[in-house]
Symmetry: C2
């Protein structure tokens, strides 16, 4: 379904220009790599703050390196509706993942500013400093600092060149002894709304430019190790084998089948596998692989993990293999606040699009922001569902659609009663 109403102003072209301008700030000349606390990261922050000021906002860098812009409401000091996303990237990234949410929010504020429109609440736009967690072994550093849940022990973490986060912050011009100053009080925020590319193919399959997020799916990651008996590929009859890779293959097929028959958004992925010794003519004696299970409902995910582990145990037992299986990562589902999600849906509808709800399988800063504010998200369609890749792409018309929905949401926003 396409828009029924012509836009009052065209924000899409400005958004695409700025996406491209930000994409040019990279560690590498031929790809996009913008890592936490690097000179590129700093240059990107300056560029974003300039745009914020052009849009009538006060802008500053907070204690962790988040870019913070504030557009006062009808009178100074009102609680704010916070918008935002992150401005760090993965290595060899796409240009839309993160920046689209920041740049679109600034474009909306700029539109209000040009019209001289003030609202009965403040607007803040946050460019989170580190969502991807590429440099140090920890994600959501920026939003955690704002939510007051930043773990100070992370400052001791080192990047792969041996630089500690503590020193990297000093080099960036920040004071690592006062990260706590970035924390905001829940009373300052009316809610947190993030616009982000979907990073999946669902909106494209549904032929919709935008989607309303219901929850950020919780995830469990498992590390599995199967041990059998290595042997010569020619000399061990099939009946005498304890082939760890054949066992792992049966597990992978079972995981896929289990998730495919689910109707509630459960997804399961085996992304990594290693067979040892890994020679053409040797039966693998040991295989390690990972499992990533996500669901927008924690109870479903936990049941699914238990069922999958049980199936693996059965396969392993039948094949006389041994099993080691460990949970390496677990995070709970972050549901979008119904009252706020409803306003997002109303804005989508008001702009002439069909309201389509979907969970976010990927993690976002809302996972940290939930600790101080109700959270909602608006997804924008991306081509082929491709993300974390140079081919990541959003059509200008979809960027425009996202901006119009966000602007409508802002203008119609009613704080929770």
């Amino acid at each position: 379904m396409e828009a029924k109403v012509a836009p009052a102003v065209s924000l899409g072209a400005e958004i695409v220009d700025r996406i491209n301008a930000l994409a040019a700030i990279s560690e590498m000349p031929d790809n996009i790599t913008r890592i936490f606390l690097t000179p590129e990261h700093r240059a990107a922050a300056e560029l974003i703050m300039g745009w914020m000021r052009d849009a009538g906002m006060a802008a500053h860098l907070d204690a962790i390196g988040n870019v913070c812009g504030r557009y006062e409401g009808e009178r100074p000091g009102l609680p704010c509706l916070m918008l935002g996303s992150h401005y760090d990237t993965v290595r060899d990234a796409g240009r839309w993942d993160g920046p689209l949410g920041i740049i679109t929010a600034i474009a909306c504020v700029g539109d209000l500013h040009r019209r001289g429109k003030k609202l009965p609440f403040a607007l803040e736009v946050t460019g989170f400093a580190d969502e991807e967690g590429v440099r140090f072994a920890s994600t959501l550093l920026g939003s955690r600092a704002i939510a007051g849940t930043f773990d100070e022990s992370a400052l001791g973490g080192k990047d792969k060149t041996g630089i500690r986060m503590y020193e990297a912050m000093r080099a960036f011009g920040l004071d690592p002894d006062h990260v706590g100053a970035a924390a905001r009080a829940p009373s300052e925020l009316l809610g947190y709304v993030e616009l982000h590319i979907e990073q999946g193919p669902v909106l494209e399959a549904k032929k919709l430019p935008v989607g309303v997020v219901t929850a950020i799916a919780g995830a469990t990651r498992l590390a599995v190790e199967l041990r059998g008996m290595a042997g010569h590929a020619g000399t061990v009859p099939m009946a005498l084998r304890r082939d760890a890779l054949a066992g792992a293959a049966e597990c992978i097929v079972a995981i896929e089948e289990f998730c495919a028959t689910d109707r509630d958004g459960l997804v399961g992925t085996v992304g990594y596998i290693n067979a040892m010794p890994g020679a053409t003519n040797v039966i693998p004696g040991m295989v390690s692989f990972t499992i990533d299970i996500r669901s927008p409902r924690d109870s479903y995910r936990k049941l699914a993990v238990a069922d999958i582990v049980r199936q693996i145990e059965e396969i392993v037992k039948r094949r006389h293999l041994t099993l080691e299986i460990n949970v390496t990562h677990e995070n709970r589902t972050v549901p979008c606040a119904p009252w706020l999600q409803k306003q997002v849906a109303e804005a989508v509808k008001a702009e002439g699009y069909r309201v389509f709800e979907l969970p976010s399988g990927a993690g976002h800063d809302g996972m940290a922001m939930i600790d101080i504010a109700d959270v909602a998200m608006l997804f924008v369609r991306c081509r082929g569902g491709i993300s974390h890749h140079p081919d990541e792409h959003v059509d200008l018309t979809d960027a425009e659609a996202g901006a119009r929905v966000l602007l409508r949401l802002i203008e119609d926003f009613k704080a929770k009663g």
Copy 2:
């Protein structure tokens, strides 16, 4: 079944001593690594030639580095029954794979020599210089040189440090311009018999110290590459995935099932797999894996390969993946000569063991020797079927049993009528 006849002399203790002496000659102090044309290889050759001379044989190194011992028959210059195996090893090898066949043959000749016994034919014992093919990308170099099928272009091949085989031969003291001098005429050989450890678990499962080999199984190796679509492990619903690893897993399960239901010694192995990009949270977009298919009957193997390829094609089509599949290696089955195999079986029976016939799934020098001589093989039980590993082990009593069968075969040997 155990031996019914007490051995005339005990050869097992001497064999085990010499196995251990040869195992001490290694590139590494803490494991066994004896690679073609290295100083260790040379030292091993000298040690073996000394044992040959002690056993009453003339011994020399031939043009490719094979150790050649000759025990004349009732008169000089008679055609010979050739015995042997290889004295090179894989890296971090066991001590029995190869050396057992050489050392046992020398022990048998030594026994005849001590008794002053001459036969109506000569005996030759060959220690083949390179069966494993670890150093240069080519196996069976020693036996091919003797069979006159050595490919001179192999001399240009380089090892991983960049040394060409040509230069390595010169450094070893050989003349690479005259490898052809190693070739033997078919008329000089009455047959080739190799004693070797089974390298598999069948004799152990059958509780037999020795087995009569029916054929060296032919093999086909395939390289498979499946391509789907990489994607975020959280954002792509199961129904929209084109997961290359899930597809590969289904193929691996199908290969195993196909081979397991076969009743004629077909074996199929996937020993290597790589999933790209290989991250926990990314659906694999590309997977490569290998398939190794072996059967003692070439026609069966070819049908099996065709059936397996067809199954893979069906899986790939149903999953909307793309497939590249290539044969990387193929060698035909080498059947043991019925007349010679029969004499091996008679020797087994004469020594009091049940005659049990089995194919060799592993390759051996007989694969090259078949071009100039009829071939037979005797397998000796090894513990757990383990080979190409430091844990490779043969019991002294089984080494003794192998020697007694080989000695009986030699003494009762009748040339093909």
